[in-house]
C-alpha cells in the first residue's frame, strides 16, 4: 500500500529569480532516486505539494513540461512561511515533493483544434508547461494554431523572459506579450489583457481557450471571450484554494461536491457554472 503522504526526495539543481521585485523564484528540482523519476508521470496542469521538513507543505503547479526530462520546475511567489523558506533554499539542498496531483489541461480535446492561451502575472506557470508541451514537434503537429496572450503589470514582472523572447521568433505560434504599464526600455505592447484579447480577436471556431490569471483579469477577460463567442465548455481555467492533503481527504479545498485538489485544479466554465461560487 503506497503512502501518499510521504514526500519524494528531491534535490535543488538550479534556482532563478524571475522578476524585478524578487518575489518570484523558480526552483528546478532533480529526483534523488531513479525509481521515483521513472514513476513520476504527469500532464501539464497538474501540481505538487512542495515539502520542507520542519516548515510544512504548500501546493504549486508544475511549471515544466513532461517533455523536459530530468527535472521539474516550480515558480514560487514569496507570500507565507513555506514560500519564504522556498525562497531561501539553495542549490544542492534536499527537499520533498508529493505528486503529481490533480487533473490536467484536457490535452486530448485539443487534438486538431486551435489553442488560445491567456495568462496574467505569476499564474503563467502551468501555462508555460502547456506551451512547451504543445511546441514539442510531435505534439505540435496534433494541434492547429497556437495563440498566447500573456500580460503582467510591468515588464519586470514577466516570467520566463528568455523563453518569451524565443517564442516571439517562432513561426509556429503567435505570442502577444503585454504590460499594464511600460518603462523606458519597454518596446512591446502596453494594455490590459482583456483589451489585448479583443484587439487580437482570435476566432472561437474550433478553438479551446485556457485562461489563468488574477481574479480581476479573469473577471474582465471572460466577457470578451463571450463576445468572441467561445462556448463555456471550451474555456478552461485552473483554480487555487487553500490545500493540505492534496488528495481529497482533508476537506478544505472543496467547491460544492468537487475538490480542487483531486477533481481540479483545471475546470471548464461549463463545470464552474454549475458549482457554488465558493472560491
Amino acid at each position: 500500500m503506497k503512502n501518499p503522504y510521504l514526500p519524494i526526495p528531491m534535490v535543488v539543481k538550479r534556482t532563478q529569480v524571475e522578476t524585478a521585485d524578487r518575489m518570484l523564484r523558480t526552483l528546478e528540482l532533480g529526483f534523488l532516486k531513479e525509481e521515483d523519476e521513472k514513476a513520476f508521470r504527469f500532464v501539464p496542469g497538474q501540481f505538487c505539494e512542495l515539502s520542507l521538513f520542519g516548515k510544512g507543505e504548500a501546493p504549486f503547479g508544475i511549471a515544466s513540461s513532461p517533455t523536459e526530462k530530468g527535472s521539474l520546475k516550480f515558480t514560487i511567489n514569496k507570500a507565507g512561511t513555506v514560500t519564504t523558506a522556498l525562497h531561501q533554499i539553495t542549490e544542492g539542498q534536499e527537499m520533498g515533493i508529493r505528486g503529481p496531483l490533480g487533473n490536467s489541461y484536457p490535452i486530448e480535446l485539443f487534438q486538431g483544434k486551435n489553442v488560445l492561451v491567456i495568462g496574467g502575472g505569476f499564474a503563467f506557470t502551468t501555462l508555460r508547461s502547456l506551451i512547451i508541451y504543445l511546441l514539442q514537434p510531435e505534439n505540435r503537429s496534433k494541434v492547429k494554431d497556437i495563440t498566447v496572450i500573456y500580460g503582467a503589470r510591468n515588464p519586470g514582472l514577466l516570467l520566463y523572459k528568455e523563453e518569451l523572447a524565443d517564442w516571439q521568433k517562432r513561426s509556429d505560434m503567435k505570442l502577444v506579450v503585454t504590460v499594464d504599464a511600460g518603462d523606458k526600455d519597454w518596446k512591446g505592447k502596453v494594455g490590459l489583457v482583456p483589451n489585448v484579447l479583443e484587439e487580437v480577436g482570435p476566432a472561437s471556431e474550433n478553438t479551446y481557450a485556457v485562461i489563468c490569471g488574477p481574479p480581476i483579469m479573469i473577471k474582465f477577460t471572460f466577457p470578451k471571450l463571450m463576445t468572441l463567442k467561445f462556448p463555456n465548455e471550451r474555456i478552461y481555467t485552473s483554480l487555487e484554494k487553500r490545500m493540505k492533503c492534496g488528495i481529497g481527504k482533508c476537506g478544505r479545498c472543496n467547491i460544492g461536491h468537487l475538490y480542487v485538489c483531486k477533481d481540479g485544479p483545471v475546470f471548464s466554465y461549463e463545470q464552474l457554472g454549475k458549482l457554488p461560487k465558493d472560491y
Partner: protein
Amino acid sequence: MSLNPATLDKKEFGSFLKQVMQTYDVIAPVELAEGVSAYRKIESPEEISLASHNTQKSAKEAFFPQSEVMFRYEKEGNRTQVTSTEEVNRPRLILASRPCDIQAFSLLDKVFSAKEYTDVYFLKKREKTTIVGFACNDPLSTCFCTSTGGGPFTREGSDIFLVDLGDAYLVEFLTEKGKALSQNEFLREASEGDVARAKKLEEEASKRMNVPVPLDGIETKLDQMLENPFWDRIHEKCLGCGACTFLCPTCHCFDISDEASQKGGQRVRNWDTCLFSLYSMETSGHNPRPSGRERTRQRLMHKFNYFPKNFQKIACVGCGRCILYCPVNFDIRQVISEINEK
C-alpha cells in the same frame, strides 16, 4: 466449542477481556474526566466505563485520532531520514462501539479508502481492527439514528455485537473476524430466555426513538438552496466553536503541520473544522468563506448535499452529539425540518 450467540456474565467480563487483551489491543470507552468519555486503548478492564448512553467523543478516534503523527524525520547533514508511523502491528479491537459510530466508519471508509488515493494511516488501522458493537438499550432524546439508516440495535458493520441484559451480555459473533473470539472459557451458551430478553430490549429501544427526522430528498432540496436567505439567518446563532464537527463521527477534516526541533521533527495531522475562518483563509488574505453564513452552509451542505453527491449517502448517522453538546443549542434536526419546508 464455539457458541453463537453466547452469554457472558458481567462478573466474568474482566477475565474475558484479560484473555482478549493477550492478543488484541483493546480500545474501549473510558471516562477521561467527569462527563468526558472517549475511546482509548486500555491497559486493564477496570478502566472501562460502559455508561447506558453513548460516549461524548466518537469512536472515530480509533482510526482517525484527533492528533496523529504521520512520520518522523531526522536530519543528518544534507540528508533527511523519514520514518512513517503507518504500520499497525498488533490486532486491535474496539469494544462497545455504538451502532451510529459504526455506521460512521463505513462513511469514513468511502473517503479514506477511495481507490485513487488510499489513506494508509486510516486503512491499516481499520484492517487490523475487530469491531464489537454495543446495543443502545436506552437511546437519548437527541438520538435519531433510525432516520439516517441505522437503529439502536443495528448490527451492520459489527464483527461482534453485545446486548446488555442487566447481569450479563448477550454476545453475537457476526463475521469470521468476530468468530475468532468465540472460543473463550468465560462464554456460555445463550439460553432461549437470554435471546428473548435481547429481542424485547430491542423492541423497547426502537419504541423509545423520537419522531423521524425528514431526510428523504434533502439532497435535491439543497441543490436549489445555495443562495437562499435561509443561510443568512441560521448561522447567526452559531458561535463557530467547532464542537459539533469535532464530536461528529463522520467529520473528517484535518490540518497537516510540522513540529520541528533542531535535528528532526514530525509531520502531524490534527482534526480541523470548516467552521473556523482560518480553515479556508488563503495566504493572500482572500477567504472564500468569509463569514459564518458560508461556513455554516458548508457544514450542512457537505453533510446533506456534497457527500451524497459523491458517495450516495448522507454524512450524518443521527448520533445527536452535535445537538447534545452545542453550547447554543443549535439543533440539526430543526434545521433539517426547516430545509424541508423550503
